[in-house]
């Protein structure tokens, strides 16, 4: 992996991000307003709906972990598809770099922005009195596994899009179901029983459970095998399939002469 090459990717993404001045301004504004909104919402629910959030300490803390998922882990699902779009693909493929370098370079900036957004929410939440009880090792493993699972799915999604050019069922499926059923905004246990079964087949549910265990209750890895094992298996499967699908889709595009099409 060539750091200089990755810096090149970071450089253009950062510069392009800075170039949209109004959007940048509203990005900061949205982040700040969003952070305060969730902080306020979380504090309010903690006051009046205590029974919902006993397990998680406070609803605000619960929400902030949901934000961590949203900005860092969920970004992994979207990043490969957004970064390696057909408009750029041909030129990315002409660079004398290995495919994984191109993919990582293309998504790196989105992760940094995601982390920056999450940190803003995190700081504001602390100002509003949110309490975190973090086990760093568990949190790191939870984030790493979450990123891996979503990255794998994102690669499948990007691969599908290289062929179909527009239609992307993978992102659609996981965004639709994940947002509703995996427990980003409220505990999935509040869902009707049949829907909870659907929640349990979504990797996001395990990611969020593990992340909350690590960030709110400082649970060690040894007490999180219920999430750790399914996630490790999911990560292995999705990353392998994702990389394979993406490689095959590039091969397909190169064989059919559609690399530059969109």
């Amino acid at each position: 992996m060539q750091i200089k090459r990755l810096l090149g990717f970071l450089y253009i993404d950062f510069k392009e991000w800075l170039a949209y001045k109004y959007e940048l301004f509203f990005w900061f504004l949205n982040t700040i307003i969003g952070a305060f909104t969730y902080a306020f919402l979380g504090t309010y629910v903690t006051l009046y709906k205590k029974e919902l959030i006993v397990k998680y300490g406070s609803f605000l803390s619960f929400l902030i972990v949901g934000m961590a998922y949203n900005y860092i882990i969920y970004a992994s699902l979207m990043a490969p598809r957004m970064a390696i779009n057909p408009w750029n693909l041909m030129w990315r493929l002409l660079i004398p770099a290995r495919l994984y370098e191109i993919i990582i370079g293309s998504v790196l900036f989105r992760y940094l922005i995601g982390i920056l957004q999450f940190l803003t929410y995190f700081v504001v939440a602390i100002i509003f009195g949110a309490q975190f009880n973090i086990n760093s090792v568990s949190a790191f493993v939870a984030i790493a596994l979450g990123v891996a699972v979503m990255w794998g799915l994102g690669m499948i999604s990007a691969g599908v899009q290289v062929i179909t050019k527009r239609w992307d069922p993978v992102t659609w499926f996981f965004t639709m179901l994940g947002g509703l059923l995996s427990g980003v905004w409220f505990p999935y246990q509040l869902l009707p029983k049949p829907l909870q079964y659907v929640s349990l087949i979504l990797p996001q549910t395990y990611i969020l459970e593990m992340l909350r265990g690590a960030m709110l209750r400082a649970e060690p890895l040894t007490s999180m095998f219920d999430q750790l094992i399914p996630l490790a298996i999911s990560a292995t499967i999705t990353v392998t399939i994702g990389y394979f699908v993406y490689m095959k889709s590039i091969e397909y595009a190169k064989e059919h002469g559609t690399v530059g099409e969109y």
Binding site: Q2, K4, R5, L7, G8, F9, Y11, I12, K15, E16, A19, Y20, W87, N88, M90, W91, R92, L93, L94, I95, P96, A97, R98, G105, E251, K254, E255, H256, G257, V259, G260
Partner: protein, 340 residues
């Protein structure tokens, strides 16, 4: 190594079967697959340090060949090597030593990045030492004025964008440069300079330049050899001089006499006399007479001129016809079509 590019029996076809027919075939319907042959056994060699023109009508297979040589497309069969590296099996090595100016040259540029920033990214991506210095070097080489370096890409004129795309192709100091329609959008002054740059091979006599274009005048002025491709097959590979020898005598030994329109009525007196002057063939087009004399004789041609004047034609110019590269290629292609 004698050759920069070696292409052997390259074949490529595209599946153009409609989506609904593919679906129908999945359910057992018998539909004919529609495959279009883009390359049908293309073979050629490009010498190291050569400027090689690649010509042909639209859909002849030029872009498909360029895409395969630049590793963007995989051939169905056959082999292609650039500086000895196989374009399929060693594509990474190939990409390290080539520079590409594609037909669709606006791709891969950030529209809200400046000209300089765009190139700086590629300098990083190619892991060039002193990236900023190299970017400045190539921007100066393509004569993009310094005042435009900090302009967003989308605010550059068409010609400036093309210069920037050329700069990108030259940025890694490639051993082989692929230029697909490079003069598009360039102003006439820069085209002249660009022609000189190509003749000088961008300051490196060992650089090989593969030039695919419709600008035949540009080809004539720059290329050492030319390959003509049609319907996925190489029709001929020759130097410009050799190409001219392929042209039938009716073209290359003819003379052109241009006269003032006011004297056009005098043609009635003049034309019958042509038969007495060993003129083998003639053609009148508006105020221009093109004719062929026996053996291409200059003396006979002068006699024709004297006769024209004596008949009252007001002669504006008189010259031996220049062999026109466009005409040569059109005739070669037409000959090939007739043979098929």
């Amino acid at each position: 190594m004698q050759f920069s590019i070696e292409v052997d029996n390259l074949k490529k076809s595209y599946d153009k079967t409609r989506f609904r027919d593919k679906v129908a075939m999945l359910f057992g319907a018998k539909r004919a697959k529609n495959r279009v042959i883009a390359l049908d056994g293309v073979t050629f060699r490009v010498k190291k340090g050569e400027v090689f023109g690649f010509l042909g009508p639209n859909g002849a297979g030029k872009t498909t060949t360029v895409k395969i040589l630049t590793t963007i497309l995989v051939p169905d069969s056959g082999e292609a090597r650039v500086m000895g590296y196989d374009v399929v099996k060693e594509s990474l090595e190939v990409r390290k030593i080539i520079g590409v100016l594609p037909e669709d040259s606006q791709r891969g540029f950030g529209w809200r990045l400046t000209a300089f920033e765009n190139l700086l990214f590629y300098a990083y991506a190619y892991l060039l030492p002193n990236p900023r210095e190299r970017v400045k070097e190539v921007l100066k080489l393509v004569e993009l004025e310094e005042e435009h370096w900090d302009k967003w890409y989308q605010r550059l004129s068409q010609g400036m964008k093309q210069k920037l795309a050329l700069a990108r192709a030259l940025l890694p100091d490639p051993q082989v440069v692929f230029l697909d329609e490079p003069t598009r959008g360039l102003d006439i002054i820069f085209v002249t300079k660009f022609r000189d740059m190509i003749r000088n091979k961008f300051g490196d006599k060992d650089k090989t330049i593969f030039l695919s274009t419709h600008d035949l005048k540009f080809v004539e002025e720059t290329c050492d050899r030319v390959a003509i491709i049609n319907r996925g097959r190489i029709v001929t590979i020759k130097s410009i001089e050799e190409l001219k020898t392929l042209v039938p005598n009716t073209i290359k030994d003819s003379y052109v006499l241009e006269f003032d329109k006011r004297s056009i009525t005098k043609l009635n007196d003049f034309i019958p006399k042509l038969r007495e002057l060993d003129v083998e063939w003639y053609q009148v087009d508006d105020h221009k007479l093109e004719f062929l004399v026996k053996g291409g004789s200059l003396e006979i041609a002068n006699e024709v001129l004297r006769t024209a004047i004596s008949c009252g034609l007001l002669v504006c110019s008189f010259h031996r016809k220049e062999v026109d590269i466009e005409e040569i290629i059109m005739r070669i292609l037409k000959g090939e079509e007739d043979a098929n």
